[in-house]
């Protein structure tokens, strides 16, 4: 028997812009969202930018020209806006209410903080990380691991 979600329950789904359709499908199959308030959250994490800095680092330093820095910020922000817009369109028929939010910071931490502040009842996140090369075993991505360890509410890990 499938679990049901009672009226007004708040479900937070971490959207990565790459697997939105699959994630929403998995969540709604596991626990129908028709009575739930669905929070779609996209996080601009510092990991990729730190990776960029690491690749670019050279003795003597080469700062990014301001125009390039602006371009990076705009691209990251636009990616989040588009990912959330797509997720919202897909989620509308599935949930009683849909809210979207773009956050910035270490993904696990900011999601847990939001869940605590907003009284979220269930956090759903993709178990694997976003960008790792498929080499070697990896049970959980870093954000999923942090959330599994620190979330103030139940966590649904989606494969």
């Amino acid at each position: 028997m499938r679990p049901t979600i009672r009226i007004g329950v708040r479900v937070l789904l971490v959207v990565d812009g790459l697997h939105t359709r699959d994630l929403l499908g998995s969540v709604s199959r596991t626990a129908p969202l028709t009575q739930a308030e669905l929070w779609l959250v996209y996080v601009r994490g510092p990991g990729p930018r730190a990776g960029l800095d690491m690749v670019r680092h050279r003795p003597g330093g080469h700062p990014l020209p301001p125009g390039r820095e602006r371009g990076l910020d705009e691209a990251e922000s636009a990616r989040g806006v588009e990912a959330l817009a797509e997720a919202e369109t897909l989620a509308r028929p599935l949930a009683a209410a849909v809210r979207t939010k773009q956050l910035e910071g270490e993904p696990g931490r900011v999601v847990c903080d939001l869940a605590r502040v907003e009284g979220i009842d269930l956090v759903a996140i993709r178990a694997g990380g976003r960008d790792q090369p498929p080499l070697g075993p990896r049970s959980l991505g870093p954000a999923a691991r942090y959330i599994a360890d620190h979330s103030p509410c139940p966590v649904l890990l989606i494969r």
Binding site: L18, G45, G47, P48, P59, P66, R130, D131, P133, P142
Partner: protein, 427 residues
């Protein structure tokens, strides 16, 4: 007395390099190396005259770095790198996989003619922006740029500043250089492309829509500036090839070309101080000059000769000399980064640490190790470890482990292929 002198020189050299790698309090490499060089002179490890001579004798390398930086700055002002990346996206036809392959091709071409540093420093953020904007996974494309920048850096004498340094020592014309290294370079590029395509085959299966016509038009928005710059860069690339063949100083060619491109920017009123500040790094010259002084100190103390004699002791023929140089320099470059690592090898070989008959295979092997070895770890083993510790202590998740896992796959394969092919070229 000689032993004390050697000990002091070794301690100062090691302390300076450790500080460069560890970067305490985020201290820039130029400060650490500069302080080490001053200490080396103050402690008598090297006289002021010898220090000045060590720096002055490498004028070609300094000019080469300056020329490369000017060229990269003007090319960036003209939108050349954005144009090249847009071309890669256009040719991908909406396929993430084809885009990965095209990024590898563009990275190879830019590395070959503008050096590995231009690829890593300038192409990486452009590729990052494009992959982000297209909502593709970002890291496979970042890995691609990072790995191909090293894998393709052996192709021409100008593809990596270390090649210029080694070329100045060997005085080998382009024919000799390519006769020994071209096959190894092609093999290392092919291996890197193949491994990355296989590893990321599934994760780059996304598709995208892209208005490449607008993007290409925006990249070359001012044809009156863009076209002369691209034409100038083609002339410069041809001059590099001719200069390498005739053993002309590549630094002079680089700085002449870079200045010529800057003049075009001045005439077209397109000079951007922000770009110049971002690309031309005075600190890099301090860092390199300091390294030359530090290496001169340990060379005068007989340390580099002893060190290199140790690595080449069992080499009896060209093939074993290639293997000794390659493995030794790959290890050194991952410990202390490739420029100081290679400087040690050149210094030791010049000071008599390698028999004259084996010097060419030994140094070409060492050059391959220094060019391809850094793919084992993204910024040198110690630096990578330190980077991981720093970012994890701040709660950030960074992909350095993923770089390491890929490097462990790619670097040994390319080093092995290069070693075998270079050894065969001496038969």
């Amino acid at each position: 007395m000689l032993k004390l002198h050697s000990t002091i020189a070794a301690v100062i050299f090691a302390a300076a390099l450790i500080t460069v790698v560890v970067r305490p309090w985020r201290l820039g490499e130029a400060w650490s190396a500069g302080a080490g060089a001053i200490l080396m002179v103050a402690a008598g490890g090297v006289s002021l005259g010898a220090a000045a001579s060590a720096v002055a004798s490498e004028w070609n390398l300094f000019l080469f770095f300056l020329g490369l930086m000017l060229t990269a700055a003007v090319a960036d002002m003209a939108g050349f790198f954005d144009w090249a990346a847009s071309l890669a996206v256009a040719a991908a036809g909406g396929s993430g996989r084809r885009l990965l392959f095209n990024v590898l091709v563009v990275g190879t071409l830019i590395t070959t003619f503008l050096s590995n540093d231009a690829t890593a420093v300038i192409l990486t953020p452009i590729v990052y922006t494009i992959a982000t904007r297209l909502r593709l996974r970002v890291m496979p494309y970042m890995f691609a740029v990072s790995f191909i920048a090293n894998a393709a850096s052996m192709t021409l004498p100008i593809s990596n500043p270390i090649n210029v340094l080694t070329g100045d020592t060997l005085r080998a014309p382009l024919g000799v250089y390519e006769g020994h290294l071209l096959a190894a370079s092609i093999a290392s590029i092919a291996i890197t492309v193949t491994v990355l395509m296989v590893v990321f085959w599934r994760t780059t299966d996304g598709t995208f829509e892209y208005d490449w016509r607008t993007s290409l038009a925006r990249a070359g928005a001012d044809p009156g500036f863009f076209r002369p710059v691209v034409a100038g860069m083609c002339v410069l690339a041809a001059a590099y090839v001719v200069g390498s063949a005739l053993l002309l100083p590549l630094g002079v060619i680089a700085v002449t070309g870079g200045t010529g491109l800057l003049v075009i920017a001045v005439i077209r009123r397109k000079v951007s101080r922000e770009h110049l500040r971002a690309h031309v790094s005075p600190a890099l010259f301090v860092y390199i000059a300091a390294l030359f002084i530090l290496v001169r100190g340990v060379e005068d103390a007989g340390i580099t000769t002893a060190l290199i004699s140790g690595t080449v002791a069992r080499a009896s023929d060209a093939a074993s000399a290639v293997a000794s140089g390659l493995l030794g320099s790959a290890a050194a470059c991952n410990l202390v980064n490739n420029l100081p690592g290679m400087l040690l090898f050149i210094s030791g070989a010049q000071a008599g640490g390698v028999p004259a008959a084996l010097r060419l295979p030994y140094l070409l092997g060492a050059l391959a190790g220094a060019d391809l070895g850094p793919n084992l770890t993204p910024v040198g083993a110690l630096s990578t470890m330190l980077w991981l510790v720093i970012v994890r202590s701040r709660g950030l998740q960074v992909s350095a482990w993923d770089f390491l896992r890929l490097g462990i796959l790619i670097a040994p394969l390319t080093l092995l292929a290069a070693g075998v092919l270079i050894a065969i070229s001496f038969r």
